[in-house]
């Protein structure tokens, strides 16, 4: 459930560089070009890395793994931060 540093095997796809990848990010459809990593997604979201935590499917992807963790077509991603709460 917890991914330390390992990346998923990169799926090579001849058309991958131009075909957008379809993700669901925080419950909404989101497209990214090519074969993005979690790090690329955070950049596209303009998320502050120090204030973000990431769930891909059922896996918590830890910060050191973000830039190597390849997202896959159809992945459901949650990017969360802290809010006030009791």
């Amino acid at each position: 459930m917890l991914v330390e540093g390992a990346a998923r095997p990169f799926e090579e796809n001849a058309a991958g560089a131009i075909r957008p990848m379809h993700l669901t990010v925080n419950g909404e459809p989101f497209e990214l070009p090519g074969a993005p990593t979690v790090g690329a997604l955070l950049a596209a979201l303009k998320a502050e890395r120090a204030r973000s935590a990431v769930l891909v499917g059922d896996e918590v992807v830890r910060a050191p793994a973000w830039d190597a963790f390849a997202l896959a077509e159809g992945d459901r991603v949650e990017v969360v931060t802290f809010a006030g709460g009791g």
């Binding site: 459930m1 917890l2 925080n26 419950g27 979201l45 303009k46 998320a47 502050e48 120090a50 204030r51 973000s52 935590a53 990431v54 769930l55 059922d58 918590v60 830890r62 910060a63 949650e78 990017v79 969360v80 931060t81 802290f82 809010a83 006030g84 709460g85 009791g86």
Partner: protein, 258 residues
């Protein structure tokens, strides 16, 4: 001063825990935390908002000396979701504490005991210091402490209602039997509720709405801190037993009768 409060092998001077929800802004929240003296402060998870710039609460909270964050699992509908929330909270907070709360029914927000138990079992194995929000049930309290929860957090009344210590009788049983700290969580309205909880033997209280919704949150936070201290000192001083028979404190000699 109260005696130090030990939780999960760590020691805290304050027996008042503070929630950070419902404050009008971050500065009001920070002022209330400072005025309360709280060292254990709960926070919740939410999705990042792409549309608008938001207040950063992690930065200011992390900058407070002596404050340890306790991420909660609010929003989790079952054990699986709560475990995910706890892992995400730990990534953000770098804190081993988690306030485990699973309350799937938005009408009463009562904790699901079965999912809470299952999640607690997993989170203890994952190395968390688990503080489970629970119904004021002495049997469940024992089961949760038996599997390694660092404390139990029975409710006083439903979250955010301000109905006070409706569970008083059950809290007495829990306090009498518990081998881990008892932290009353939810429902406290006024400082007198906090004092009453500590007087009856609870180790700490967690307050949010009563402070955040006060007209002057910082002043109310300080009032709660005083109440917790008063309750603790009263307990140490030995509270007199109640009696159904009146006993005069003044002489009742009949010298005024002509």
């Amino acid at each position: 001063m109260t005696a130090p409060f030990t939780l999960g092998g760590r020691t805290f001077a304050s027996r008042l825990m503070l929630g950070t929800g419902k404050f009008s802004d971050v500065q009001v929240m920070l002022n209330a935390i400072k005025a309360s003296g709280a060292q254990l402060v709960t926070v919740a998870l939410r999705r990042i908002n792409r549309e608008r710039l938001e207040d950063d609460i992690l930065g200011p909270l992390a900058a407070l000396p002596d404050v340890t964050l306790v991420p909660n699992t609010s929003g989790a509908m079952d054990a699986k979701e709560a475990v995910k929330a706890a892992l995400l909270g730990r990534e953000l907070s770098r804190s081993p504490f988690v306030k485990l709360e699973i309350h799937p029914n938005p009408h009463h927000l009562m904790p699901d005991p079965i999912e809470t138990y299952e999640a607690a079992r997993i989170l203890v194995k994952e190395g968390f210091i688990v503080l489970p929000y629970m119904q004021a049930d002495p049997v469940l309290a024992k089961r949760l402490s038996d599997i390694g929860c660092a404390a139990v957090m029975p409710l006083g009344s439903a979250i955010g209602t301000g109905h006070g210590l409706k569970t008083l009788e059950m809290l007495r049983y829990i306090v009498r039997e518990s081998t881990v700290p008892v932290i009353v969580d939810a429902g406290l309205r006024a400082p007198s509720d906090a004092a009453a909880a500590i007087e009856l033997g609870c180790d700490a209280v967690l307050v949010n709405s009563a402070i955040a919704a006060a007209a002057d949150p910082a002043a109310m936070a300080h009032a709660f801190a005083l109440a917790v201290q008063a309750g603790y000192e009263a307990r140490g001083a030995g509270i007199m037993p109640a009696s159904d028979a009146a006993a005069a404190t003044s002489p009742l000699t009949s010298f005024l009768r002509s």
